[in-house]
Symmetry: C2
Subunit: 204 residues, 2 copies
DNA sequence: CACGTGATGTCAGAGGCTGTCATCACTACA
DNA sequence: TGTAGTGATGACAGCCTCTGACATCACGTG
């Protein structure tokens, strides 16, 4: 399994994020990334289908974890709660990579081209969640809409979590105000959505 | 204003949709489209920023109409109702182009690359709706979430409208079952979302 | 009928991405 | 010990998307 330098894929992903952050996505060529990673341009395209995809490596794992969690969820939950709970579980892998998430989010926000890809990943997540709900007997259009709503909560919660100022020194923080986790933010986003749509219609 | 053959932009857009439908998006080169439209490849890129954008020409108009309708909406409406109502107004331009919408939807559904662009347009629509709500005094995160929810209703409603079997011969249809308009579908989608999130939490 | 204004044509080139074949590191097995 | 197999990588060649720069053409204006 080991060849020349191990983990070419990881080196490429790190080099790409670094370069995108340093000089911008469009100003970075795939040849630049490959060179910094010590491989050929051709090798980059063997590991990642795209110049964009290199930023979205963990997304498939996230999706698979979520689907598994939906399948394993207790049966007495609302579809939306099932999806959100599964996402809160799956998101554990991101909690450990907050700095990476933050840098990545900054790069994506600066490039419509990358934003596009992120939206596609979120849509795929919603599609997968919908399918997983249907496999549990939830019917259309309930399954799809619950999936969309759950993913919206994830999206909003993730944005808040990433946007929150980083804990500079955990020891200096007041110990009785624990940092809000990503899972917390997702739960709060769902509450906001609930409050919003629960608003009674004022006139007609 | 008139030059060589008029409406090069329109010819390009029609040629592109035809070719994408005939032989597929990836199998069509920009040179092919330009040739069928009777112009140069370079001219294509003067009218459209890229090979995908040629399918999304009316999206900006739709967005502007929606924003104007939000600004002009009666003050006694819920944010979500404001957005959905504005979209129902803006969507009039699509009602007249159902065949075009259907063909376009089929092409987009067949190409992740195009789906990506569509998602970006929907995200832009939601962003614009959120800004328009904020201009009316709606605060965050209510504005953004209402915008997202409204656009979701639009998306789902549009999909149903496009997926509905086309009225083969209007005269043969039973006159007392009028075809459901796109606006109808959008309204129904909103109702579905309401019903979904209004579901009481079963356990704790 | 000269001139300005836009839209178009022409050309050159960078960069993304793919197919193809050779090469290399490592493993398994004789 | 060496020999064949396997999988990742390198080395080209080439198509296509997209852009910049400059020339050209149609049309309106004076």
């Amino acid at each position: 399994m080991g060849r020349w330098e191990p983990d070419a894929r990881g080196r490429l992903a790190r080099a790409a994020l670094d370069l995108y952050a340093e000089r911008g996505y469009e100003q970075t060529t795939v040849a630049d990334i490959a060179q910094r990673a010590g491989v050929t341009e051709r090798t980059f395209f063997r590991h990642f289908t795209d110049k964009r995809e290199v930023l979205f490596d963990p997304s498939l794992t996230l999706q698979e974890t979520m689907v598994a969690a939906i399948a394993a969820a207790p049966a007495d939950r609302t579809p939306v709660e099932t999806v959100v709970g599964a996402l809160q579980t799956a998101v554990a892998m991101l909690e450990e990579r907050r700095d990476w998430s933050r840098r990545r989010a900054a790069v994506i926000a600066a490039n419509p081209s990358l934003l596009e890809r992120e939206l596609l990943k979120l849509a795929a997540l919603a599609t997968a969640a919908g399918a997983a709900l249907r496999a549990r007997g939830v019917r259309e259009p309930r399954a799809s809409l619950a999936a969309e709503t759950g993913v919206t909560a994830f999206k909003v919660g993730f944005e808040h979590w990433v946007g929150e100022p980083p804990a500079q020194d955990e020891a200096v923080q007041e110990p009785e105000s624990p940092a809000r986790t990503l899972a917390d933010h997702i739960g709060e986003a769902l509450d906001e959505i609930r409050a919003l749509t629960a608003t009674p219609r004022p006139l007609g």
